[in-house]
């Protein structure tokens, strides 16, 4: 029966020593330990959060970079396209200009040729006229060399004249 009969003396010592144990452990052991654990947990969670934030930031930056690269690529393509267009336009224009110029030159050449030709024709005409006159003169000179002949002619002419 003694086994299940509480003993006052032991109860007294147990309560006294356990109270002291509680007090000492709470004050000198559990408080510092639990506080240290809490601090550490707090700092760990803080660092984890910071790491996460840094990671997000990195991702953002990376994303930004990608976007910028993308934009740059598009820009490059645009520029290239524009340049190509410009080139084509310039070439086209040049070709057009060259054509016009060529036409103009040909026209000019043609006009000048025409002009030269006209001039040449005129000159030939003049020369022919001069030659004709010379020939006529020589012929006339020959025909009218003798007096009789001059008379004959005058007679002819006189005959033709009508005095009325």
């Amino acid at each position: 029966m003694e086994l299940i009969k509480p003993d006052i003396g032991l109860l007294f010592w147990m309560i006294v020593s356990f109270s002291i144990l509680l007090y000492v452990l709470i004050k000198f052991a559990w408080k510092p330990i639990l506080n240290a654990l809490k601090d550490r947990e707090r700092s760990i969670s803080k660092s984890l959060l910071a790491a996460q934030r840094a990671k997000d930031e990195m991702a953002k930056i990376e994303f930004g970079n990608e976007k910028i690269t993308q934009l740059a690529k598009i820009e490059k393509q645009n520029i290239l396209k524009e340049a190509k267009e410009l080139k084509n336009k310039i070439i086209e224009e040049a070709r057009e200009n060259a054509k016009l110029e060529a036409k103009k030159i040909v026209e000019e050449a043609r006009q000048s040729v025409e002009h030269e030709k006209n001039q040449a024709i005129n000159e030939i005409k003049n020369q022919i006229a001069a030659l004709s006159v010379d020939i006529a003169e020589k012929i006339i000179k020959q025909k009218l060399g003798k007096e009789s002949k001059q008379k004959e002619l005058i007679d002819d002419l006189v005959k033709d004249i009508d005095l009325n």
């Binding site: 086994l3 010592w13 356990f18 144990l21 052991a29 639990l34």
Partner: protein, 369 residues
Amino acid sequence: MYKILLNISFVLAILILSQENIFANEITEEKDPEHTQSNGEEHKDEGFNPGDFIFDHIRDNYNWHLFSYKGHHVAIPLPVILYSKTQGIVSFWSNKLDHNHTYKGFIIAQEGDYEDKIIEVDSHGEFIARPFNISITKNVTAILFSCFFLIYIFVSVANSYKKRKGLPPKGLQSLLEPVILFIRDDVAKSSIGEKHYEKYTPFLLTIFFFILLNNLLGLVPLFPGGANVTGNITVTMALALFTFFITTITGNKTYWGHIFNTPGVPWWLKLPVPLIPFIELFGVLIKPFVLMVRLFANISAGHIIVLGFFSLIFIFGNMSSGLGLAVSPVSILFTIFMSILELLVAFIQAYVFTILSAIYFGMASEEDH
């Protein structure tokens, strides 16, 4: 690996010491029957009495019996402190009362209501009264030892936390930190709730480590261990009283409201005859009582079974020595098995006591919802 070694050393220690005691007792019986007679505290009957043997090992004692050698009991005397109405405060060493001696009118009763307790007798040996006894008994010594041990361990751990601020735990600190975190997170936080657990955690840690240490020390038969502290109903009663008082003192309005005016119960169960309040109030008292009995019964039962297996050897040995020898390997195997089981029980019971206390605190601090 280390744990297994520890287990084995526990078991070996149990084997060695228990056997030594038993052998010594047997020799006493054979060689010195008169002495046995006079030392009735040890042996009343002829032959081996397993009941007395087991009971002797699990009860509290005025001295700390270490071992017996050739009929001589080697024990550490402990201070006896008494207060009697006739003599006032009396104090002396417990070895004065050895071998049924009377000292200053005090003697250890051999029979009657106060068997194995110190009583005051007159010059004719007649019973006068039982003095108020606050002796430093074996269990008190063991409690004091474990208190100093716990203080030493945890204050040094706390110091290493202070010294190694922001660094990972090391050594003893890293051994105990998971346990502390387990009690804080899985016992206190989960049973009491995020809001109030911090108030109770130090107490829960203290009872957990106190019970665990004493459970383990109870398994070690060598000197600082071997006292049956957590298998003593007075000790478990004190622990349960602490839980009870903390629950009662910190109980809030909702807690008392649930007891005296239980919500969700028809009024006629409360008003003319306060049936439900009575049951609830009874429950409040039952809770610490259950805590007390569970720890006491579990630890005592384990010790009784282990000692029972050893007794088998000597029960059979008394019939014939050959039979005793034949039984001993079986007994030892069973004892090893039981000791390993006890090791498990040591942790489980410390955990159960702590988590039940935490659940009661959780009830006491629960808010209305």
